[in-house]
Subunit: 254 residues, 2 copies
DNA sequence: TCCGACGTTCTGCAATGTAAAACACGGACT
DNA sequence: AGTCCGTGTTTTACATTGCAGAACGTCGGA
């Protein structure tokens, strides 16, 4: 899935590392980057000035930063995704009605990427935002996607990304995960009992095409006090399922 | 401003061109990219597989696309900007109160970048979205920024980006622009009379630090029927100014 | 089965990325 | 002022490595 290039362009790989450093630190000086990557200053300088010429990097005084061109490209990509346009208004509505935090994500390279978030009046604060990338095995969102992907794809993803534990409730056992995914596919929705964020429970539903292909998923997150793990979850489930269905309809007939 | 690297890394420049092709076309095949850029197929192949290894590009069958990693990086950048966090709730409120389209942008490299948009009930539809990059001379947003930038910076920007006309009302004359910027700085708000989008008028206000440095600007866009160019603009001006002030306060004391 | 169109791999030569050193610049401290 | 650091930048010469072209593999249609 993550392909190993057999003739990788080494200088491009250096550039990627440099971008990564600038992504992690908010900004960095030339020397800092060179030191962190154990590269010669002149090398880093050549890379950074090339990036700067093409406006991927800006320089404030002596500090280099990634430019908002990344936000620009990201915006272009998101707007090309019809799922986003179809879902946005429905999610705003759902967030307002329930007061909860509502999230839309799609999958790519075995990861989920948050395309949109709508916050209701009582929405919890978590550190995901638009563009956040999540592993798929430990959230209602992700499990709703995995449950509706061909089993062979899921196996590849599990192999690639493994099953890292985010909390003590995260499913880290393959067999257990596969069982739950079967259940999710059958009943049409997923549940997350503090598997990614402590104190949070979520319900999630996939967005499917009429051929049954998963385009993404939506989820609703609330403090665990508001949603019993074993009790009555029907209210939230109905909400999320009907919103998902509205989105599916709009995707098909628009 | 846009710096000319004197030892540009040529292979990186090729990569940038390839990314640009993928940005313009939604997706492309290897051969198409090679043909468009007049590069050998093997060269393009090496670049694309390197990008793919680092998850900047994905391959659907034979089609290459930019990955959502760009959205991810863009999201990280946006969330690091305190202006965004401070402004978001205020803009939602303003959009709801006025029903109009409200936009937040910041400036970088002589361009404005949209950080957030909030749509009121009667909001007009225009083709900007989060991440969109705009020239600064032809919008209330941009002129509010330019008006509060040091004159020398403005001159550099005008030289770099020139004054392209978007509509017949766009200011394309330097002297005229400078006069208007003086006025904007003095009175504290900017007006856009169909200078960027036909049929649309906007008022904009800068977001300043207590030292008077521009962090960005906000604007309110309405159909021209709702806002006379020479008549009473005070209502919208008051709205935008007071929202801008709230944001400034929150930026200073939080 | 052959043929054509395509992506991928291979290979040798020339282009070019890189390390090290020299240079330029600015601030701090005498 | 003048000297020293510690920066970033430019230069240069060498070896790495990116690249064109050709060969190979693969798929589909005739």
């Amino acid at each position: 899935m993550t392909a190993p290039a057999n003739h990788p362009i080494k200088s491009l790989e250096k550039t990627v590392e440099i971008i990564d450093v600038l992504k992690r630190r908010r900004s960095a000086r030339l020397g800092e980057v060179a030191e962190e990557l154990e590269l010669n200053k002149s090398t880093v300088h050549n890379h950074l000035s090339t990036l700067r010429e093409h406006e991927y990097v800006v320089k404030d005084g002596e500090e280099y930063r990634l430019s908002l061109q990344f936000l620009h490209i990201g915006g272009v990509l998101r707007n090309e995704i019809d799922l986003y346009e179809a879902a946005k208004p429905k999610l705003d509505r759902l967030a307002e009605d329930t007061g909860a935090l509502v999230t839309l994500a799609t999958h790519e390279r075995g990861l989920g990427t948050v395309l949109y978030r709508a916050k209701g009046a009582d929405a919890v604060e978590i550190d995901t935002h638009v563009g956040s990338q999540l592993t798929l095995h430990n959230s209602a969102l992700g499990k709703a996607i995995l449950g509706n992907l061909p089993r062979s794809d899921v196996e590849t993803i599990v192999e690639e990304r493994e099953l890292p534990a985010a909390t003590e409730n995260t499913i880290t056992d393959g067999a257990e995960l596969y069982d739950e995914l079967d259940e999710i596919r059958e009943r049409g929705w997923a549940f997350d009992d503090e598997e990614n964020w402590r104190g949070l429970r979520c319900v999630g539903a996939p967005i499917l095409t009429d051929e049954g292909v998963v385009k993404g998923a939506i989820s609703l997150s609330v403090p665990k006090s508001q949603l019993a793990a074993d009790g009555d979850r029907q209210g939230y489930v109905d909400e999320i399922k009907s919103t998902a269905n509205l989105i599916e309809l709009r995707l098909t007939y628009a």
